[in-house]
Amino acid sequence: MREPHVVRAPSIKPASGLPAAHETHGEPRPGVSQPRLNEPRVAVDVDIPSDVSQIERVVSLVTDLCRDLSLPKRHYTLNIPVALSEALSNAIIRGNHEDPSKYVHLRATVSDVALVIDVTDEGSGFDMRDIAHDPTSPEDLQREDGRGLFLMRQLMDRVEQIHGPHHILRLTLNR
């Protein structure tokens, strides 16, 4: 997904680095023509030290981008900042255990159809399906923790995991 920044000319195929409507998941389907771009399509990559004090600034960076690309206001004032903070703090604290030798990588792409955010950590991962308790239930309402995944699921259209050499949490918010 990332490669050394070498002096080499990229091939310009619109959207080749960015998800098109039909390829937000999985490999691009051969033979499916690329939709015409009428708007800039953007991908941002951020390497983040495993330090929670970095979260606020990384969140601003993504929300400013979303504002510049004319996403709905509510998305960049509520849905994205809250869900992204959750994903980043889980990656930094639960995934990387705040180990300063480890990094969290964020990749956010904005296309005409959706914002997709991948948050990658260097931890051993977990299984999201195990986290299904309801923090709004009377038993849990007064608990201090356990609202992170719940909020991401409430505020995003999709929350998914990708298990590979590194753990990735993918948040998708349709436009």
Binding site: V82, E86, S89, T136, Q142, D145, R147, G148, L155
Partner: protein
């Protein structure tokens, strides 16, 4: 990002400027607990100048509320904008706190 505490009558009013998130929630917690230690019992957090709150920020509000209640006091909230109101509704925390539209209204009934 900063927290300002002011006494209005017998109520400690806390202004949260900016975000209330994992990076700074301990600071809020400590500042309020220090006041509880000193004998204060009525707390009002005013969110008029607050951006967003994450789950750990919400968690601190829940735990402060519990701690203050254990000391016979109360924590109330005021001035949530639409986004924050939604956040409290999503998490049903709007049922746990007394939430007022404005600081004045919150102080009246306290």
């Amino acid at each position: 990002m900063s927290f300002t505490l002011k006494k209005q009558g017998d109520v400690v009013v806390v202004d949260v400027e900016g975000q209330l998130i994992v990076g700074n929630r301990q600071e809020l917690k400590q500042k309020v607990l220090d006041e509880v230690e000193k004998g204060e019992r009525k707390f009002l957090i005013d969110f008029a100048q607050t951006g967003y709150i994450d789950s750990s920020g919400l968690g601190v509000l829940v735990s402060l509320s519990k701690k203050i209640r254990e000391h016979g006091g109360e924590l109330r909230l005021a001035d949530l904008n639409d986004d924050l109101q939604t956040l409290f509704e999503l998490t049903k925390l709007d049922t746990l706190f007394q939430i007022s539209d404005t600081r004045e209204r919150a102080l009246e009934g306290f």
